[in-house]
């Protein structure tokens, strides 16, 4: 059985969102279902997870079409509206028909900036998570599969990374090597891969002893083939769960760096640096922190809800607990 095919199948089903499948099967007909299909059936019944998925798709679309949306609204992300976007005292303007979410202290449209903020948050969140997962899977597989010296060295490396006061260290790295999109992705990935690595290592350790690994080896499969063809598909479930839960962590991490002035360089809008700017103005302009804050909270909330749904779907034990 190729796990890749079934993953692909469940993924295409995600894309088309087919609902007709169970209805056409005549009663009594028994159809074999792969674990991935079963997981998707459970996940699809989880209303909170599905709404979250819808919201995530929505903000992804917003991020992709940001320039179009900005063009349609009529302001760029760094355009300063000096006539209507700022009061005579030089203060932000409250939400009105021209600026639906109001403006910031420089007369920039908060709606457009919040829209552009989705780009940085999603890009950094997803890119750093994928990087971290790739690193974690490689290291975890190698440590768990080869054992002995390789395991000792790699496990110790993971211990070191996990013992780092990571936010502090991230700040140190960024202050030395300058801030920016690339360094944010790298820093976040660097401090999150070890957690994935530990999970994969633990799973690999137990799978390595299974009979089918022995069988594969006796058929002449090499280490690489066993690791990626026989072991990897079987550690995928926890990795997928962890990936969905890691994305919101990475998004919060990015916004924290931006908030501290160590993320993507202004004037590029990010939710974090908008919130940081708003700290001096929240007393006169409630809309200034409200909209980027709400966008940030809803996004992380959606990813967390989806992650919970995915975990319930992939881990039967977790599912039982939540349905007690």
């Amino acid at each position: 059985m190729s796990a890749d095919e079934t993953v692909a199948a469940s993924l295409t089903e995600t894309a088309t969102g087919s609902t007709a499948a169970p209805a056409v099967i005549p009663a009594g007909a028994i159809e074999g279902r792969s674990p991935w299909q079963l997981a998707w059936f459970i996940l699809r019944k989880d209303r909170a997870a599905m709404i979250s998925l819808g919201f995530i798709v929505f903000i992804a679309l917003v991020a992709i079409t940001a320039p179009l949306l900005a063009h349609w609204i009529g302001y760029g992300p760094t355009d300063q509206d000096r006539t209507n976007g700022i009061t005579v005292d030089g203060l932000p303007v409250a939400p009105n028909s021209q600026h639906l979410f109001g403006t910031d202290n420089l007369g920039r449209d908060i709606l457009v900036r919040t829209i552009y903020g989705t780009q940085v948050s999603l890009l950094v969140g997803v890119a750093s998570t994928l990087l971290a997962v790739a690193m974690g899977v490689l290291v975890g597989l190698a440590a768990g599969y080869f054992g002995s010296v390789v395991d000792s060295v790699l496990s110790r490396a993971m211990d070191v990374v996990l013992s780092f006061p990571f936010l502090l260290f991230a700040i140190a790295l960024v202050s030395i090597y300058g801030s920016g999109l690339g360094i944010s992705v790298f820093v976040i990935a660097f401090f999150t891969w070890a957690a994935v690595g530990r999970i994969v290592r633990g799973q690999t350790l137990s799978i390595r002893e299974k009979d089918y690994i022995e069988a594969a080896r006796s058929l002449g499969a090499g280490d690489m083939r066993i690791m990626f063809v026989d072991v990897l598909p079987n550690v995928l479930a926890p990795v997928i769960v962890y990936t969905t839960l890691l994305i919101p962590i990475a998004i919060v991490f990015e916004s924290t760096l931006s908030f501290l002035g160590l993320g993507v360089v202004p004037p590029t809008p990010t939710w974090g640096n908008m919130l940081s700017d708003s700290l001096d103005f929240y007393q006169v302009a409630w809309w200034f922190p409200l909209f980027p804050g709400l966008a940030l909270l809803l996004t992380t909330l959606a990813f967390n809800l989806l992650g919970d749904g995915v975990r319930d779907a992939l881990d039967p034990r977790a599912g039982r607990l939540s349905q007690d």
Partner: protein, 319 residues
């Protein structure tokens, strides 16, 4: 037991050493020009050379590292590049602030998180359970600076403008000079930290309690006629708390290394604040000291937690 402790301590020292090497190396290869930064733009080359020599920056990295280790073993963390204050003094000033912040918040989140988790688990699917679950989810998704801004807006700004001057927005008063003002100034930071951290505890306690409450020995205890309340608290909670203790140790240790964002927002002169200011102006001795101190807390907490685990859960054997 003793062998376990010895081995863990050794590996802890190894981890700390690696972190010190890493931090030291990182700052040595850094492109920043520290003497120029200290001296300012109008410095002559002679002055810069003098500063470089004074700080020992002209020596090879291994020599510098050796001097650092040598001083470290004598309990001396060196001197700040800027106000030539000793790093020991700086950390000595910042540590009480961070400890006050961490301990107060820890009490809040432990009590709050565990009790909400227990209530949720005792009546699963009830309204209270759902409220607890949603609260946990929001806390889990909330960046710490966002909750900080929210608290500042509602508890400080709105209340103050309506004449209720209850919560100071920033500042720190040592407990030794005025315990009431100390707590008064820390209420908001405590709440902010506790809210985001409690989320993990609500979830952990709820899941653990649900699992334990389904065990046979709980039914046995109930059938012996012990009241539900007593079974929940004496029998179930005790067994459910073991992983909570683990989490608590790690979280507390991480916080003791500096609650960077919370200290920043509420203007608390703790370790996190010290670390950020030093990092920004590349005050290498202070940065290395704070990073190492934070790592020491984490490494120690890991060992303590493993030991506690064996004490709390007789099934665990340390090898």
């Amino acid at each position: 037991m003793l062998r376990f402790l010895l081995r863990r301590l050794l590996s802890g020292v190894l981890v700390l050493w690696l972190i010190s090497v890493f931090t030291f190396g990182l700052f040595f290869v850094a492109p920043g020009d520290v003497p120029r930064l200290i001296c300012g733009r109008l410095c002559t080359q002679t002055q810069i050379n003098l500063i470089t020599k004074q700080l020992g920056l002209d020596q090879p990295i291994l020599t510098q590292y050796w001097h650092f280790l040598d001083r470290l073993f004598h309990g001396d963390l060196g001197y700040s590049y800027y106000n030539s204050e000793s790093v020991n003094t700086l950390i000595g000033q910042a540590l009480p602030v961070t400890i006050s912040l961490a301990i107060g918040a820890a009490v809040l989140w432990l009590v709050g998180g565990v009790s909400i988790g227990v209530i949720s688990a005792v009546k699963p699917r009830s309204l209270l359970d759902r409220a607890g679950t949603i609260l946990a989810l929001i806390g889990l998704s909330m960046p710490s600076f966002l909750i900080g801004i929210l608290l500042l807006y509602f508890l400080f700004f709105l209340l103050t403008t309506h004449g209720m001057d209850w919560f100071p927005p920033s500042g720190y008063v040592p407990i030794t000079s005025d315990p009431v003002e100390w707590a008064h100034h820390l209420v908001m930071p405590w709440c902010a930290l506790a809210f985001i951290t409690a989320a993990t505890y609500i979830r952990l306690t709820r899941n653990q309690m649900l699992e334990v409450l389904g065990e046979d020995y709980i039914r046995t205890a109930r059938s012996k006629g012990i009241s539900r309340r007593r079974v929940t608290i004496r029998h179930a909670l005790r067994a459910a708390l073991t992983p909570v203790v683990t989490q608590f140790g790690i979280d507390l240790a991480t916080l003791l290394g500096g609650a960077i964002v919370t200290e920043q927002i509420f203007g608390l002169p703790g370790l996190g604040r010290l670390a950020v200011t030093s990092v920004v102006r590349q005050d290498q001795p202070v940065v290395i000291a704070t990073v190492l101190l934070a790592a020491v807390f984490i490494v120690l907490a890991n060992i303590v937690v493993d030991l506690l685990y064996a004490v709390l859960d007789p099934r665990v054997r340390l090898t």
